[in-house]
């Protein structure tokens, strides 16, 4: 009882209102440090295969000897098709697969985004497993061109060879689908959409033959030309669209087969050199997070993951002594493992951050860091809510004076228990005027629909102009909004506080929900939006410049611009990719940018700019 009473008394303490900014800063700090300690041995774990049925590397592989001659022949066949028209290429690839005794079908697809038409053709063949009942299938994908646009000569040839080779085995207990897709992103997407009957029939052809539920997919990216190229390492790509990841068991199986059974080193996230130091682990993890946060397709496997089909791409890198047959044997062993599966991969993790081929952290360990960042906004918004309910204090600058006066007020209240007096301003809760803040914050979020629509639908030529215009408008809009508001009815201090309160509340809510779906995106947006916690209305003619410049540096448009400059990417290219992602892959990163991040920044900027146009210099607020 006395504890409750002392807590209640503590509630009125002036110091408690000073606490939240520090608490928020602490949350951000701990969140970031949390992430930084993850690569240490104490916080990450070695990977392990938890699905018993997989038995990686337990079988002898027979893909050797005369298969090599067949592979070389197919590689020349593929090289001969490079300059041929699309229809002829499709027909010829189909013929090769058909000559191996498989059922073959083709699929035409056409997408349009940013005023471009993306079209192509997929060829696929189904091997009916001799021991299978056509209820389950695994997919081997060889995209005609890889993510860099190079022709995947050896990859396609390897798929053709393996199709011929697998057909002769009697042990398959799942159907195997060999897919040669037109390219690395749209082709597999069209195919997997059509496989699950969720394609738009107007532009994408349905599949004429199908098998059972897809259990897994492996894509091969081996662009060595007709004369071959020996590679050094396997680069395993595992990021799916929207940051979804395949089951960790699939990745582990591939690593364990490649490095354990075949002696091929494995690498990830373009870390060609990795000597397992702290820096390199951290760098791998951060690269993984950026890829996950961007949510883009990173290979032919990406399109499968949204359908809950675990998939990875095996990419050959470097100059070394491993040849196509080692890669073929790796794939063979991998398929033998997948063939053993009794049920869908479910044992291992779906949420993880990898920092080396055999080291990871799972969601339970890393999630708190994004949650802490999200919580910092909620804390500040609660503090602002409480603050908005307090009566405005008379501006007495020295804190010691005020404390004394508060204390004297308190005693008066307690002694005069018989008289119903009007309580002092510290206790009194001022009525909050909610309408303007609510209307403003919700309209700011609706305003975000405008750039979202424009960037997803503008033709390629107009994108650059749109981008810079939006950037210019974004920078000037807060001042325009503040000016317009002051023209009609200048928002009071309380309303400004409430605008920030609601905006941060929404931001915290969105980010904590997002953290469960796409940890990295939530973390990155949270980090860039973190300054919004600490901005307060500036007083006219007092250190406004740094604040305004600082705030504009974390403006989403500016961040995108700086980031593209840093990685040497072209802004237009990024926007075209994003629009393609929206229309083809079902990517929603831009929804987060325009409907979560941008409105939060806008509201924060309006709060800062709000007092610029007031003549009332007494309207002050202490952060």
């Amino acid at each position: 009882m006395s504890l409750a009473a002392s807590i209640l008394a503590f509630r009125r303490d002036g110091r408690i209102l000073k606490l939240p900014p520090y608490l928020s800063a602490l949350c951000i700090l701990v969140g970031v440090v949390w992430l930084l300690v993850l690569p240490l041995n104490e916080y990450s774990r070695n990977t392990y295969v938890s699905e018993n049925a997989l038995l990686p590397g337990q079988v002898h592989t027979y893909f050797t000897g005369s298969e090599h001659n067949i592979f070389r022949a197919y590689r020349h066949e593929v090289a001969a098709l490079v300059d041929k028209p699309l229809d002829e290429r499709t027909r010829r690839l189909g013929d090769i697969l058909r000559s191996s005794g498989l059922k073959v079908s083709t699929q035409k697809y056409e997408y349009s985004s940013s005023g471009r038409i993306i079209s192509g053709q997929n060829v696929y063949a189904i091997l009916q497993g001799p021991r299978a009942d056509a209820t389950e299938a695994i997919v081997l994908v060889g995209a005609w061109t890889n993510m860099d646009g190079e022709v995947n000569h050896s990859g396609v040839a390897l798929v053709l060879t393996l199709a011929r080779y697998f057909k002769r085995w009697s042990l398959w207990s799942k159907d195997i689908i060999f897919l040669i897709s037109g390219d690395s992103t749209t082709g597999p997407q069209a195919w997997v959409d059509a496989y699950h009957d969720s394609h738009s029939p107007a532009s994408i052809e349905p599949l004429s033959i199908k098998s059972g539920a897809l259990q897994g997919a492996i894509a091969i990216d081996y662009p060595a030309g007709p004369w071959g190229h020996r590679f050094d390492k396997l680069h395993i790509v595992y990021d799916g669209v929207n940051g979804q990841l395949p089951n960790l068991d699939l990745f582990n199986t591939a690593v364990s087969i490649a490095s354990g059974q075949m002696g091929i080193g494995c690498t990830l996230q373009r870390m060609w050199k990795h000597d397992d130091s702290y820096q390199e682990r951290l760098q791998t993890m951060l690269r993984g997070m950026i890829n996950q946060g961007l949510g883009h397709a990173s290979g032919p496997h990406s399109s499968f993951i949204p359908y809950h089909v675990d998939a990875i791409t095996l990419q050959t890198v470097g100059d070394g002594w491993h040849d196509e047959m080692s890669l073929g044997r790796t794939v063979e062993s991998l398929f033998r493992s997948l063939n053993n599966l009794l049920e869908h991969l479910h044992q291992s993790f779906f949420f993880y951050l990898l920092m080396q081929a055999n080291r990871f952290v799972s969601i339970g360990t890393y999630l708190p860091s994004a949650m802490l960042i999200a919580v910092n906004f909620t804390i500040t918004s609660i503090a602002l809510w409480v603050q908005s309910g307090r009566a405005r204090k008379e501006p007495t600058p020295a804190s010691t004076d005020r404390k004394i006066s508060e204390k004297s007020d308190m005693t008066v209240v307690k002694m005069d228990s018989m008289v119903a007096i009007v309580p002092e301003p510290i206790i009194a809760i001022v009525e909050r005027k909610l309408f303007l803040p609510l209307a403003f914050v919700s309209s700011a979020h609706f305003l975000g629909l405008l750039p979202l629509y424009i960037f997803n639908n503008a033709p390629q030529g107009a994108l650059e102009a749109c981008f810079y215009l939006t950037g210019l408008l974004t920078i000037s809009l807060p001042y325009l909004a503040a000016f317009t508001l002051s023209f009609f009815r200048r928002p009071s201090t309380q309303e400004t506080t409430l605008i920030q309160c609601f905006s941060l509340l929404l931001l915290g809510m969105f980010l904590s929900a997002l953290a469960t779906l796409n940890f990295s995106l939530s973390f990155l947006v949270g980090l860039f939006a973190a300054p919004l916690t600490f901005v307060r209305p500036i007083m006219p003619a007092r250190r406004s410049n740094e604040k305004v410049v600082g705030l504009n540096l974390v403006n989403p448009i500016v961040v995108i611009m700086i980031a593209t400059r840093y990685w040497g990417a072209d802004v237009v290219n990024v926007l075209v990719q994003a629009a393609e992602g929206w229309h083809v892959w079902g990517m929603w990163t831009q929804v987060v940018v325009w409907l979560v991040w941008w409105p939060a920044w806008f509201a924060g900027a309006v709060v800062v700019a709000g007092t610029l146009f007031s003549n009332d210099a007494t309207e002050t607020k202490e952060a």
């Binding site: 018989m418 119903a420 809510m509």
Partner: protein, 422 residues
Amino acid sequence: MAVDKQKALLFGAAAAVRLLLFTAFPSLPNLLTGRVEISTPVTSFKRLQEGVFLYTHNVSPYDGGVFHQAPLLLPLFSLLPNPASHPFATNLLYTIVDLLGANALMQIAETGQSVSSRLFTSSRKDLRWSTIAVGASFLFNPFTVATCIARPTSALTNFFLLTSIAKAAQGASVTCILALSFASYLSLHPILLFPPLLLLCYDVRVTKSKRSLNPLAFSLSHIFGLVIALALLLYLSTLLTGSWEFLAATYGVRLLLPDLTPNVGLWWYFFIEMFDSFREFFLGVFWLHMASYVGGLSFRLRRQPLFVVSSLLGIFAIFQPYPSIADSALYLALVPLYRHIFPLMRYSFLAASTLFYTSFLGPAFYYLWIYAGSGNANFFYAITLVWSLGLSVIVGDSLYAALRDEWEVERPEMHGKEIRRI
């Protein structure tokens, strides 16, 4: 006159928003209809379509085991053109139902029963929102809009309940009883609102006629009326379907919970986990728990029967077997009538934020569980627990505020003071 113009504007805007959403996003109604947060097995529009299909093909609609809604809905919806090809009539019906509900809510606000009833007048009675604001907070509540777009039959129940409360607050016994019997006929649990509505109606009638009515005769006549109305509805249903089997398929399902499709409530997970031997016992406990609030609240808050009704609606939104956000929308519609006790509520921000957070985390976790396959049922259930917590904080906090308000009328010298439990 000005109020009428405002009202027309409000209704026009609300109808425009709904019809715009219906026409501009033609896939939205079907998307929302499939959401477990809005459509439950006993209210889903999809299941209603199934029932209507069977009914129009002269098969008993309850044969498939899918349809669990009241039989009288079938002729109504079979009269409308097929919503798959001509959705406009259905959309218009649901929009009108929402507007009529809002109209009833505004009638409740006009009577001022929430601030001063026969036995009690709040000391804060001047602190009120206008009827337009109360109506707007119902019509533009995202939950109400989502319910309207998803077209579950709970929208009809909500309309009948609001009408029933409005008529009780105006002292119109017959309409009140009729509307209540329709609501109970559609979804069973509204019958629990009969005692507080009877009290409300009695208070209003006594105030209006300025003489005391015999309470016993009053309640007996009303009970009799309710029984007649319900019997008539059930008899009509039997005539329509040709047998009494609809009782087991509609009320039986609501009482015995055979369909454990996830929803925002607390029952489904509990009954999935339970050993079958305890099922009957806990069904009894859960129902008894929900029903027990009726007596307690009616006694304790005898002086504010309308508040009892609205608190009970909040409790139903949490504890009924198949709740959805439609029930929460109804409760949240009545909360603004109690603007005068808002200053006394202590956790309004907390509760509102909880509801906000859960309404985003809920779909996210459901997605992780059902579509991404990377979560499990516990994710979604945890969020429904938090959602229920948020609602119960509002219910509990408003109860506290209402009691405190009553107490301050008794002891005006304690106005604005901190209270201390002794």
